[in-house]
């Protein structure tokens, strides 16, 4: 009996303890509906800024610092996410009519699918007349409609990074900076032979690499003058034959590279083509050993791709007025130059480039300028108006690369079958062609 009483006592003590813990846990739980992870707490008065750019750790920290130092109009909660999360978040918030986002930042292709969810920004763009946006960019910002849907934020392109060691294999008669694709191939062939049969050239053909932009914006426009309409023309066959030869001189490990600055730093390759922001760290602390060159040119000219990022405000944004102030601040010359200096994205305004840029960015700036000013330059854009299906369009070009260069299938057959895939996507979308293809509607492979 004594035992029994003791036992009961023990339970009640334990029960009491449990009860106490439970009572303590309730306020603790209600207090932690969450802790802010985006700098500002996203609460009253702060501008919630969702972006597909600057997701990388250091880029993000540097951009947050720019926001903190230069943007005084409002507290900005900067929230970088990948493109698919960006799309889902924007869609779900606007469709539910409970918008928490006040500012959206992304490349043209990220914003395009949400054209009817974005506020008209004609008044804002009008008040930014002194920024000197080119009409190319402001036209693009209309997203195929009649009103401005975003304000240009920054731009970028792709160039070649070259370690000076590779110059010793430059064949006679070939000079940098400007060469043709054939000269480039003979250089890479000579370099491979000189380097003990080890290829020195790399492209970002990894799972997250941007190599499809090389085909869409550089190789095909340079050889065919188009991107989509000429997809299976005889010129395109020549281009892919060329690519097959170039691939034979390319480091096979390229299919693992997402960003070329790392293999360049490690010395695995000496020459690489990539996005300027993904080559920025290659020169490291020895910029004297490096060159940045414009892309080679082909029979039709020097094709290069322009990447444009824009700032948009969603309909029903809780802090639309403040978001406009943030856009104004981000397009001032100082901030544009800061972003170039820190994160290697180029100004979209008439901001004067300072002479004291970080060495690697300075090299890139010179190459970008030369690329733009080359006579016969062919500007192309990433697919416009295909929205969420950009990845599928890119995949078509990746497939051609895989089948032609890796699997060794005959070029014309591959192009014919992939043209079918591309047309199937484009026929559903019924969009007008984008540069460099002539603006015919609907866009499809001839």
């Amino acid at each position: 009996m004594t035992n029994r009483i003791n036992d009961d006592l023990r339970i009640s003590r334990r029960g009491l303890l449990g009860l106490g813990l439970g009572v303590a846990a309730v306020p603790a739980l209600t207090a932690c509906g969450g802790v802010s992870t985006s700098g500002a707490d996203g609460g009253e008065g702060s501008v919630s800024f969702l972006s597909t750019q600057f997701t990388q750790v250091e880029e993000r920290q540097r951009f947050e610092k720019i926001l903190g130092d230069r943007v005084t109009a409002a507290k900005v909660a900067f929230n970088p996410v990948d493109a698919s999360t960006f799309g889902t978040t924007v869609k779900s918030q606007l469709d539910a009519g409970k918008v928490q986002l006040s500012l959206l930042g992304g490349v043209h292709g990220d914003l395009a699918p949400h054209a009817d969810r974005l506020m008209d920004l004609d008044d804002l763009l009008g008040s930014l007349g002194d920024r000197g946006f080119t009409s190319d960019l402001t036209d693009l910002a209309k997203l195929s409609g009649s009103t401005t849907k975003y304000v240009p934020w920054m731009q970028a392109t792709y160039v070649l990074a070259v370690h000076k060691k590779a110059l010793e294999w430059l064949p006679s008669g070939v000079v940098t900076p400007q060469m043709t694709y054939d000269q480039f191939l003979s250089w890479m062939t000579a370099a491979r032979q000189g380097n003990g049969n080890k290829p020195v050239f790399g492209i970002p053909a990894g799972p997250k690499g941007l190599y499809h932009r090389f085909f869409q914006g550089f190789l095909l426009p340079s050889f065919t003058g188009g991107q989509v309409t000429t997809f299976r023309s005889p010129d395109a066959v020549t281009a892919w034959q060329y690519m097959k030869e170039l691939w034979a001189q390319t480091a096979p490990a390229s299919t693992n590279y997402d960003s070329m600055q790392e293999p360049l730093q490690r010395g695995e390759v000496l020459v690489a083509w990539d996005h300027v922001a993904r080559l920025r760290d290659a020169p490291g602390d020895k910029p004297g050993d490096w060159l940045m060159l414009p892309a080679p040119s082909g029979p039709k000219g020097l094709g290069y791709m322009l990447v444009v990022a824009g700032l948009a405000i969603p309909n029903g944004a809780p802090e639309a007025a403040k978001a406009k102030e943030v856009v104004k601040a981000l397009t001032t010359g100082d901030v544009q130059v800061d972003v170039l200096r820190q994160n290697a994205f180029f100004p979209v305004t008439n901001a004067q480039l300072p002479t004291d840029l970080p060495a690697a960015v300075g090299l890139e700036a010179a190459a970008v300028k030369r690329q733009q000013e080359t006579a016969g330059a062919i500007v192309s854009l990433p697919p416009v108006g295909v929205g969420a299906r950009d990845a599928e369009v890119g995949q078509v070009f990746k497939n051609v690369f895989k089948e032609v260069c890796l699997d060794g299938k005959p070029v014309q057959g591959v192009l014919d079958s992939q043209a079918g895939q591309l047309n199937a996507i484009l026929d559903e979308l019924k969009v007008a062609c984008w540069r460099p293809d002539p603006a015919g509607s609907p866009c499809r492979v001839a």
């Binding site: 739980l29 932690c32 509906g33 969450g34 802790v35 802010s36 992870t37 985006s38 700098g39 707490d41 996203g42 919630s48 969702l50 997701t55 990388q56 750790v57 250091e58 993000r60 920290q61 947050e64 909660a77 900067f78 929230n79 970088p80 996410v81 990948d82 999360t85 889902t88 978040t89 869609k91 779900s92 918030q93 469709d95 539910a96 409970k98 928490q100 986002l101 997250k208 960003s259 600055q261 790392e262 730093q265 490690r266 010395g267 760290d281």
Partner: protein
């Protein structure tokens, strides 16, 4: 001891060492890389001993915006998920184990249905529901989602364990005056503890590792993986190692704590 027996013992030892290495070597390598300087990661071949230790990448990573907040959120969500999943899942598991009812097999199969649909398909509608109810961008939203995802394993694991606890002992306890609840708490639950611990571990790990749902349901109050995973995928190698280690360590600590309960399942006295 016969030669054959000795050989068998050696083989078992070798297998144990191999499995330990299989688990341990990646952890060692990731820890080594996370605590090395960025330059030393570009060397070839990579040194296998810490020749150039540096906490620079690790501290830069830990100082990036939202890592501390994300850690607290992840912990809240993880523990909340464990509590909710056990509160709902353990009684369900008990019912499945003890009672025969019509459609029991179908019920067990349908339980798994929540795991059959990928979250990608559900993301926009889910986010909308949480937006409409005002739970969007709170840890409660993520907790509820993770509980829903964790329930099937919780129910099935605990059911399997309750089947193993003898029903006679429970009846005996009731004959001696225990109420059904007391009998459950004092006779069944202690014996089922290893299974409950395993279920808790699964629930916590699931919540700790889940990215997509957490990303879709939150904006400014993300869990740690949702906060850093996109970032890490685009970052240089050094940060991927630092982030990898930071994500693995808390999970290891949780497993270490739960381990003693789990090992009981096979009757080991190891504590």
């Amino acid at each position: 001891m016969s030669a054959r027996r000795r050989w068998e013992r050696a083989a078992i030892q070798a297998a144990c060492v191999a499995i330990t290495l299989f688990m341990g070597v990646p952890l060692y390598l990731i820890a080594l890389a996370a605590l090395s300087s960025r330059d030393s990661l570009n060397q070839f071949p990579l040194p296998l001993l810490p020749t150039d230790p540096s906490t620079e990448t690790m501290s830069t990573f830990l100082q990036s915006t939202g890592v501390t907040g994300g850690f607290i959120n992840s912990l809240t969500v993880g523990l909340g998920t464990v509590v909710l999943a056990l509160l709902v899942g353990v009684p369900a598991g008990y019912a499945v184990a003890r009672y025969a009812f019509r459609g029991k097999d179908t019920y067990q199969l349908i339980l798994l249905l929540t795991r059959a649909l990928p979250i990608v398909v559900l993301s926009v509608p889910l986010a909308r529901i949480f937006l409409d109810t005002g739970l969007y961008d709170t840890t409660y939203a993520v907790m509820l989602l993770h509980t829903a995802l964790a329930l099937p394993t919780t129910v099935l694991i605990t059911a399997a364990i309750f089947v193993g606890v003898s029903h006679e002992q429970e009846e005996a306890a009731m004959i001696f005056g225990a109420s059904p609840l007391q009998a459950f708490l004092r006779v069944v639950a202690p014996q089922a503890l290893p299974g409950i611990a395993a279920a808790a571990m699964f629930a916590f790990m699931l919540s700790w590792n889940e990215v997509l749902g957490a990303t879709v349901l939150t904006l400014n109050q993300r869990t740690l993986p949702a906060q850093v995973l996109t970032t890490l995928a685009d970052s240089p190698l050094a940060y991927r190692f630092a982030g990898g280690l930071a994500l693995v360590l808390p999970a290891l600590v949780f497993i270490a704590v739960m381990r003693r309960y789990l090992l009981n399942m096979w009757g080991t006295t190891l504590r």
